[in-house]
């Protein structure tokens, strides 16, 4: 039996969570104050994931950059592959929140979507 101490990142409360494991099986989760914390802890010790946010260059818009995010969380070890894929990408204004700017980023099956409205110049 082993234990891992985590800080939940589900929300800004940052609950201190203790996960008890039997080999690769999670046997107990304590310290969380909501179901989100339980789900986070189980995932963090087996398959950690993150939402990635970054920026992409804009052509013909009122701002030179548009901020983007992964439409859902991607495996933690794919974060750098994800931002690498955004290098050199240029988005044409007008851009609306939710527009897909790159699909299936780094083979994760997750799209990169715009997180800001950018009107055309």
């Amino acid at each position: 039996m082993s234990t891992r101490e985590l800080t939940c990142i589900g929300c800004p409360l940052g609950c201190p969570i203790t996960v008890t494991m039997e080999g690769k099986e999670v046997t107990n989760v304590t310290g969380n104050t909501c179901p989100k914390g339980d789900a986070y802890a189980r995932k963090e010790v087996t398959n950690p994931t993150r939402i990635v946010t970054s920026t992409v260059r804009v052509e013909g818009g009122v701002c030179p950059m548009v901020n983007v995010k992964t439409a859902s969380d991607i495996p933690k070890d794919q974060i750098f592959a994800c931002v690498e894929a955004l290098k050199g990408l240029v988005a044409k204004a007008p851009i609306a929140i939710g527009d897909v700017l790159l699909s299936n980023v780094a083979g994760t099956g997750v799209d990169i979507v715009a997180a800001r409205n950018i009107p055309a110049k």
Binding site: T53, T55, R116
Partner: protein
């Protein structure tokens, strides 16, 4: 001179939420004045996610969170002026502002909401020794350069201060290809949210050195190296603990200061602990008809709380415009003691306050397994256990008007941290 019922100074999250709630409370004549070229304030450069969990039950990026409030302002047809700087607010609520189109102009308002936000503590205010080369930025300036303007401030980075913006920028610079060598924090604990330490430092193996500060900056034209040293309990550097990091950039994330120059010129009394106005339960300052909300009042940890507080300020300002000043002279002071650094509001009017009133505050150190205790005079009213409390995170107590009705002779409310 133009006339408006309500002038809101600042078009960031606080100003937007205040405008929406004042309009919904029946105030037609509202003007928001914003000095930047767009509404949304600092949220526009906060591209990380995590905003709006309380307000919208989802995790939004800063611009997404702002866009929802901007849309609400647009739907209601609330007027705003961009690229406009307020120069002065008088105690009789005359607002002097200027921009390129209108030049200098005056507005007579019936009520004013202060929503100017805060600014970062600068190198000058920190008294860091060493040369003064290029390459030293506040973390927020770097954030704007990277996220909005598309420039990289540097390649090899040292960060002083572990406030949230510093932590967020440690990750952001790393993702953009920079090497963040260390984050040094003067205090023995981080000033940022725990989740940001996990997601922004631990995820990328960036070391956080608590009880450390910058003791030297090298480089004449551009930063060439930064030396940090451990500090003792007196926060003075300990000789012999110096470590030198070669780098081209130093980011400073050493605290935020509410921006209250305008408040002062209006005669608003400030609380030296928060550097923000002293307000009562309705968020009104000592100057009748001038209200405050958001980071100009006290620096918040979550924008959701800013929106809630600003909505209350908007409602209260509407109430004032329609019905005039509060009549109940009886006020009860809230005393922050034993670890509670301050409270907002600082006093309440038990007969006129909202049915449920949220009192927000911060603690002065890290407390484990302690409780937040509320006393009406010497009687313990409520005790809430908190596993961990830290200065980086706001705490709250909710006061119940009905309960207060049972204490007609109440002199003071005390909020303190106690061993559980």
């Amino acid at each position: 001179m133009k006339n408006y019922d309500l002038v809101i100074v600042g078009g960031g999250p606080a100003g937007l939420a205040a405008a929406v709630s004042a309009r919904d409370a029946g105030i037609e004549s509202i003007l928001i004045i914003e000095r930047d070229k767009e509404l949304g304030g600092i949220l526009n450069q906060c591209i990380h996610n995590g905003f709006g969990l309380h307000t919208f039950q989802e995790e939004l990026t800063g611009p997404e969170y702002a866009s929802r409030f901007i849309a609400q302002v647009a739907e209601r047809g609330i007027a705003y002026k961009l690229n406009t700087m307020v120069m002065d607010i008088s105690s009789d609520k005359r607002v002097t502002a200027m921009n390129r189109e209108d030049g200098m102009f005056e507005i007579q308002a019936k009520a004013v909401i202060l929503a100017m936000g805060c600014r970062e503590r600068s190198r000058g205010a920190l008294n860091i020794p060493g040369f003064r080369p290029a390459g030293i930025f506040s973390a927020g300036t770097a954030q704007r350069l990277v996220n909005m303007e598309g420039y990289m401030p540097g390649r090899e980075v040292v960060i002083l201060g572990s406030g949230d913006i510093g932590l967020i920028m440690a990750r952001r610079m790393t993702l953009e290809g920079a090497k963040v060598k260390v984050v040094a924090e003067l205090m023995p604990y981080s000033g940022g949210l725990k989740r940001n330490i996990v997601q922004c430092l631990d995820d990328f193996g960036i070391p956080l050195k608590l009880s450390h500060t910058v003791v030297d900056i090298e480089g004449k034209k551009r930063v060439e190296a930064v030396t940090i040293a451990e500090v003792g309990p007196d926060r003075k550097p300990i000789p012999g603990t110096e470590e030198r990091y070669t780098c081209d950039t130093l980011l400073l994330s050493c605290g935020l200061i509410p921006e209250n120059e305008l408040s002062k010129s209006a005669g608003v009394t400030l609380n030296p602990v928060t550097s923000g106005p002293v307000v009562g339960d309705n968020l009104e300052t000592n100057v009748e008809g001038i209200f405050a909300c958001g980071n100009v009042l006290h620096v918040h940890d979550l924008v959701d709380y800013v929106s809630q507080e600003a909505a209350a300020a908007g409602r209260n300002a509407a109430q004032y415009i329609k019905n005039g000043a509060k009549t109940d002279a009886r006020t009860v002071e809230i005393l922050p003691v034993d670890g509670v650094r301050y409270t907002v509001p600082k006093f309440i009017r038990p007969q006129e306050m909202d049915d449920k009133l949220t009192v927000r505050f911060r603690v002065g150190g890290v407390y484990r397994n302690c409780s937040i205790a509320t006393y009406f005079d010497d009687e313990l009213i409520a005790r809430r256990k908190r596993p961990v409390m830290a200065p980086g995170e706001m705490e709250q107590v909710v006061l119940d008007k009905k309960k207060l009705g049972d204490y007609p002779n109440l002199n003071k409310i005390t909020i303190r941290i106690e061993e559980a």
